[in-house]
Symmetry: none
Subunit: 224 residues, 2 copies
């Protein structure tokens, strides 16, 4: 699990890096906005921590840039009492924020919560109803059946569906999440991937019980 942290306060950055790496995360540091954008492109982190006040490019700009190419979870760091900043950050697509000063413990709790929300958590296996995902082993287990091995793309697709179990997820969002920006618009990839996934997890792939199509909208995972 890779986390990109951007802050111009060297001491704080070191503290964040220490806290997160202690917890088992791989931390990429950036001292200003411009290098944050570069690191984002080269490292494709799973989560981004952004200070709002930075030289180079502000957290806003970085967040905006990231959002044009990815839906990766973004958490903004802000000083207390700057409500305008907060609203603006959330409007730009940030997923959460944290007011300075914060304790390492709080930071960790929030990062974990955000990763869990995004369905990227790999510590505890994701589950919904009878469907149990193991992102470490790349397997799914349905009910008490034998675990089935999944490929990278299959895993990501199922992660999204499990994270939104019971609700329809639009094809566009799935494409975004599974393939990133490049896959946008390519329905073919998605329908093929869904087909392969059904072969693996459905009892009767031709009449899917769990991975259902919502015509004109997307797909959803039915859990009892």
């Amino acid at each position: 699990m890779k986390i990109l942290c951007a802050d111009d306060d060297k001491d704080l950055l070191a503290l964040i890096a220490f806290t997160l790496s202690q917890a088992g995360y791989l931390v990429i540091s950036a001292g200003d906005g411009a290098s944050a954008i570069r690191s984002f492109a080269s490292e494709s982190p799973d989560l981004v921590l952004l200070d709002i006040n930075m030289p180079g490019a502000s957290g806003f700009q970085v967040c905006e840039t990231i959002r044009t190419q990815s839906r990766v979870p973004v958490m903004m760091l802000t000083v207390r009492g700057e409500e305008e900043d907060l609203v603006r950050a959330l409007d730009l697509g940030a997923d959460d924020y944290l007011t300075k000063p914060f304790s390492p413990r709080t930071l960790l709790a929030r990062v974990k919560a955000l990763l869990r929300r995004a369905g990227l958590e790999n510590s505890a296996p994701l589950a919904a109803g009878r469907v149990q995902l193991d992102t470490q082993e790349h397997t799914v287990q349905v009910g008490t059946k034998e675990p089935v091995r999944l490929t990278k793309l299959e895993l990501r697709l199922l992660q999204m569906l499990v994270a939104n179990a019971g609700h329809t997820v639009s094809s566009d969002r799935l494409l975004m999440q599974v393939w990133g920006h490049k896959g946008a618009g390519d329905r073919q990839l998605l329908k093929q991937l869904v087909h392969r996934l059904r072969q693996k997890i459905e009892v009767e792939p031709a009449a899917p019980q769990m991975l259902q199509t919502v015509v004109g909208a997307g797909y959803k995972l039915i859990v009892d």
Copy 2:
């Protein structure tokens, strides 16, 4: 879009309800933990706002109960400085928190952000009388009848009518909104679409009760 709000402070609850309903959300209120749990079971809201300090059952207990049966987004309300509470809430599966006091504007921004994260952002808060639109699932529910699946165009048409429930919407505006500029002037498309929609939502499509024609002007949705 249905939001369940639980708080024992009647004034704050009223403020929250006012703010959210102004923004178009349907608000279900609960004054204590026990009734929050009951309401959750009966109403299946799309998002839950929970005060931590409540008589009956604390926000923690309510959150825990909800998490045993659902992954609905949960936002906790807490007083400033109670970091322990915050960490515990996030551990219990809450998705976000808000420290009191907060401004209506902040509340709205956070609720929207949480809905967006949960992938419910497209489900615009659309309901009028007995007509409930779900833009994510592409369905309408009339009263307590079974939800009916809608196509893209049907959904857009009904969205327009629901948004202007009780008022006539001109054919030109409907054409513009549903088809964009290309459809301008083509009455035929509209009357066909209206016909199909009536087949789906009217009890007696030949004598429409809800989707009524306003001769020479357009159509309107009658809600009780």
